[in-house]
């Protein structure tokens, strides 16, 4: 099996990438929640200052804005038409390729 030459792709590369980006868009807020709750651990670190925490939170915030801009930029361009969106959604809904 491994000796076979590359051959045709087993799934379309572009739509696969698009669905993965969508997964990333779904994942982003979850990661963000965890990172936003980190300041609660301040009590365990006597070195942490309010100013430091302020910088951390704003840094996180800027990172979120940048990541979100990148993701939504790609998603908005690719999902130009409602039909395309519909198609992909259907494909995802029947469980063939989502995970």
């Amino acid at each position: 099996m491994s000796a076979q030459r590359p051959g045709p792709l087993f799934l379309a590369r572009s739509s696969f990438r698009r669905r993965r980006l969508r997964d990333a868009a779904r994942m982003l807020p979850i990661v963000a929640v965890v990172l936003m709750l980190l300041p609660l651990l301040k009590g365990g670190d006597p070195e942490a200052t309010t100013a430091g925490m302020l910088l951390y939170l704003f840094g996180l915030w800027i990172a979120l804005v940048v990541l979100s801009a990148l993701l939504s930029g790609v998603l908005a361009i690719e999902d130009d038409t409602a039909e395309a969106l519909q198609r992909d959604e259907d494909r995802g809904a029947d469980g063939t390729e989502r995970g």
Binding site: L37, L40, F58, L64, S68, A76, Q86
Partner: protein, 892 residues
């Protein structure tokens, strides 16, 4: 020194400018140039109504009191925006496909266009938003009082109150002018949105300007600012876990549930792609708004005198430093924040109040229903304007009654109240099993807990709830204490209220949904909304066709306006291929019309109005069953039709075949008649001729005998011919008597071969072993069939060495005897008719018989209960005689 009058002048000029902006935007939209009014940028800026006077002034105060906790108010919305793919995208899609006009409309529409739910959400929104409006009036009045005091005059409470009144009145005028200009089909307000976008820029610029001034002008750069922060009392701040997480959740929920946010996020959205942009641009805006809050708070705490109101640092700090122009800008920024919030919130609330309370009440109070003459539009507009005034009056009353605690406290109370819609809304759009009873139970229980634990206590101990009830619970029931429900003490009041209200709300929603049963319309709407990505079409709910197109037109004119309604009807009629203004009232059309109307008056009202005309308040189970039955009947009917047409086709084909057969037979009958007359004539001619010879001439005895012999032969031939005809006629008439006896097949065949007298002219091939079959039938008749077939083979087989194979075998329990010669066989076209009487193959070569033989054979076999058929593909003419089954017995 900045004079107070100048401030008033500038403020009025700014307000006039906003009026102009809104007016210009409306004009552009009216002339069809709405494109640039609806860009991602404007959409994002319009979302800034989230940042109210509370943000503008209050955030600094919040930071001064509670350190970084103010950030939770902006981190929550950031999370929701960044996670737009989860909830917001779906909300916006639903809002567009269902033409949702408000938060209450969405909930009502999801749960079967329930009027009751609409009313509950509307009441919740009014109660939850009124304090917030009061808060804005307070912030404007306070900021004005700061200026007044700066110019030397001292303001009494009545002055603040009067200012609030003026502000409220001005806002009412603006909102009525631009918020109820028309009943827009989409409930979009170009002028308002444009004005809000301008205000968003103003407040951002103002806050950033103060921030820049404070950081680089007062604190000495970034490093200095950070030092100031760490040396202020802000440094001692420790995040409290419950509040930090709880407030992030709460503010995230508020972004979706606040009526004004729903208005700008969903209702005013014109393109889903704008949401994609806003998903990062709005967090960026929030970031910019909160960037300088802590520095301003820290520097304010350091520089301002002890006891100064930290809520007003943004304004008092520049004033104290002598920055009059900056202070003016800040004042305008604060004014912008407050007014934009009030305008949008008032529009959203007025829409809800008018669509879910006033118009339904008005409709049900009228006995003549929605079909009366007069303009409903006027009613809806008036009710909406009155609602605007009423909402602002409520806000003003609250403002005058409350002593105006810290701004942030009121804001959070409002957030918790509106968050009660969250389970019903999010549950409704993701879970098809949610029912209106569940939603109602959740909303009401959440509302009650919020009132008891947070809203009523906010008036202060002893104001609404007695101090005794606080300490010992109502009527001494300890576990009902407002700040210690179920005996759990020590929680922060807001966290306490959020925890219990959301927990009980969600539980009630879930349990209520699980144990109750939805109406059909609820199921339909649920499927439409939960699976909004699969359904681009609206739900089909109107199956009845009783509504007259004219009635609908009359009603639509009153809501959409005559021109719009007529255009709509005309285009629909055109689509149906009709001229004029009245299309056929198809379910599709009624459905479409309902959604159009829903854009103006809300789903529940539109449904009720159309319901009145289509003579059914709602679709019942019976209706749905009737529709299903009807559909099934149609399917069945068409299947029957199809079956029938197939049958007719078969019949037609059979008829055509029969006709062809008849035509051929008729031709052959003619041929036969001429043949038979010829056959009869020939012997008759010779008989006549020879009998004349015998009579007229004297002949020798030998000749006499020869002639008499010929006459006799010819007479015999005639007799045979007539016998055949007679035989056939007897067989056909069915009055033949069968003479059943037993015999062996091989004997029968021997007899037939010898009787047919083929002699050496035809070689007969037989397999005697297989012929050892006992037969019980009319043996003479069967022999007649065999003889006929053998002599036929002799007559018609034109092979050089004619031979006939006689094969006996058993097929499927019946004995068959095949007679197969090695001749040419019978042509396809002739096979059809060989068994017909009078049939006679047109082959001119052999004209021995009269063409009755096979016909007789067939009649005989039928009488005997067997069959005779032609076997194609045997190498020559092949006839199969199937012996009567019952009489064929296995040989011993």
């Amino acid at each position: 020194m900045l004079s107070f009058n100048l401030l008033i002048t500038v403020a009025l000029a700014y307000v006039a400018f906003l009026f102009l902006v809104a007016f210009a935007a409306e004009r552009r939209a009216a002339s069809g140039q709405a494109r640039w009014l609806r860009t991602s940028l404007i959409y994002t800026l319009s979302l800034s109504v989230y940042c109210t006077g509370w943000t503008f002034y209050g955030a600094v105060g919040y930071a001064a009191r509670s350190g970084l906790e103010y950030l939770t108010i902006y981190l929550g919305p950031t999370l929701v925006m960044v996670g737009w793919w989860w909830v917001l995208r779906k909300l916006v899609r639903i809002g567009r496909s269902q033409r949702t006009t408000s938060l209450a409309d969405l909930v009502s529409s999801r749960f079967g266009k329930s009027t009751a739910l609409g009313v509950i959400v509307t009441l919740l929104a009014v109660v939850g938003t009124t304090p917030y409006i009061a808060l804005q009036l307070q912030s404007v009045s306070l900021s004005m009082s700061v200026f007044a005091e700066a110019t030397g005059s001292t303001w009494a409470g009545s002055d603040i109150g009067r200012t609030g009144l003026w502000v409220a009145a001005g806002l009412a005028v603006f909102t009525i002018l631009f918020g109820t200009r028309n009943l827009d089909a989409n409930e979009r307000h170009h002028g308002v949105v444009m004005a809000i976008a301008v205000e968003a820029v103003v407040k951002l610029v103002a806050l950033l300007a103060v921030g820049v001034f404070v950081v680089w002008g007062l604190a000495g750069g970034i490093a200095g600012t950070l030092e100031t922060i760490d040396s202020s009392r802000l440094a001692a701040w420790e995040p409290a876990g419950g509040r930090w997480a709880g407030l992030i959740f709460l503010s995230g929920a508020a972004l979706i549930c606040l009526p004004r946010m729903f208005q700008v996020l969903v209702v005013e959205n014109s393109d889903e792609r704008h949401l994609a942009t806003a998903s990062w641009a709005f967090p960026l805006y929030l970031l910019a708004m909160s960037l300088f809050v802590v520095p301003i708070a820290a520097v304010g705490l350091e520089r301002m005198p002890e006891g100064a109101n930290p809520d007003l640092f943004v304004l008092t700090l520049p004033l104290a430093e002598g920055q009059q122009g900056l202070a003016m800008l800040v004042f305008l920024g604060g004014l912008s924040s407050a007014t934009s919030m009030v305008i949008v919130a008032t529009i959203a609330l007025a829409t809800m109040v008018s669509n879910h309370i006033v118009v339904p009440a008005w409709l049900s109070a009228r006995t003549d229903g929605a079909m009366v003459s007069g303009d409903v539009r006027a009613v809806v507009l008036i009710s909406r304007r009155l609602s605007i005034v009423a909402v602002l009056a409520l806000g003003y009353t609250y403002f005058r009654l409350s002593e105006g605690g810290a701004l942030a406290a009121i804001g959070l109370i409002s957030f918790v109240g509106m968050a009660q819609v969250l389970p019903a809304m999010v549950g409704g759009i993701f879970w098809r099993g949610a029912t209106r009873w569940g939603a109602g139970a959740g909303l009401i229980s959440g509302f009650v807990i919020w009132m008891w634990c947070l809203f009523l206590p906010s008036f202060g101990q002893g104001a609404v709830i007695s101090a005794q009830a606080f300490a010992e619970g109502p009527f001494g029931i300890g576990w009902l204490r407002p700040h210690a429900l179920f005996g759990i003490e020590g929680l922060d009041p807001v966290v306490h209220a959020v925890l219990w209200s959301m927990l009980i709300n969600t539980t009630a929603f879930f349990v209520g949904s699980v144990v109750t049963f939805p109406t059909p319309l609820e199921r339909l709407q649920g499927a439409q909304i939960v699976n909004v990505y699969e359904h681009s079409q609206g739900p089909r709910t109107w199956s009845r066709q009783a509504a007259g197109a004219e009635d609908l037109l009359i009603m639509a004119q009153r809501i959409l306006g005559p021109v719009e309604a007529q255009t709509l009807f005309q285009s629909e009629a055109k689509k149906q291929g009709k001229s004029g203004y009245l299309p056929d009232v198809t379910p599709d059309f009624v459905d479409y019309l309902e959604r159009e109307l829903a854009g103006s008056v809300g789903a529940a009202t539109a449904h009720a109005m159309i319901g009145q005309i289509t003579e059914g308040a709602s679709v019942s189970v019976e209706d749905l069953i009737a529709v299903a039955d009807e559909a099934a009947q149609i399917v069945e009917y068409s299947a029957r039709l199809e079956e029938k047409s197939r049958e007719q086709e078969r019949t037609a084909r059979a008829l055509r075949e029969a006709n062809a057969k008849l035509t051929q037979l008729s031709i052959q009958k003619d041929a036969f008649l001429s043949q038979i007359s010829h056959e009869l004539r020939t012997p008759m001619t010779s008989i006549r001729a020879f009998s004349e010879l015998l009579r007229d001439t004297t002949l020798e005895t030998a000749d006499q005998q020869r002639f008499a012999g010929i006459i006799q032969d010819e007479a015999l031939r005639l007799t045979r011919l007539l016998d055949d005809l007679l035989d056939l006629s007897v067989l056909e008439n069915g009055n033949v008597t069968l003479n059943i006896s037993e015999g062996r097949l091989t004997d029968l065949l021997d007899r037939a071969v010898s009787a047919s007298g083929v002699g050496s002219a035809l070689a007969i091939r037989r397999d005697r072993a297989s012929e050892a079959v006992k037969v019980s039938t009319d043996l003479d008749r069967l022999a007649q069939v065999f003889i006929n077939l053998i002599s036929n083979a002799r007559k018609y087989c034109i092979a050089e060495r004619p031979e006939l194979r006689i094969e006996v075998r058993s097929i499927g329990g019946a004995t068959v005897v095949d007679f197969i010669d090695n001749g040419e066989g019978i042509r396809d076209a002739d096979r059809e008719v060989i068994f017909e009487k009078f049939s006679r193959l047109t082959d001119p070569g052999k004209a021995g018989g009269a063409g009755l033989g096979l016909a007789i054979c067939r009649e005989i076999m039928e009488r005997l209960g067997g069959a005779i058929s032609y076997q194609p593909g045997q190498g020559g003419a092949a006839f199969r005689v199937t012996l009567p089954a019952a009489e064929a017995l296995a040989a011993e």
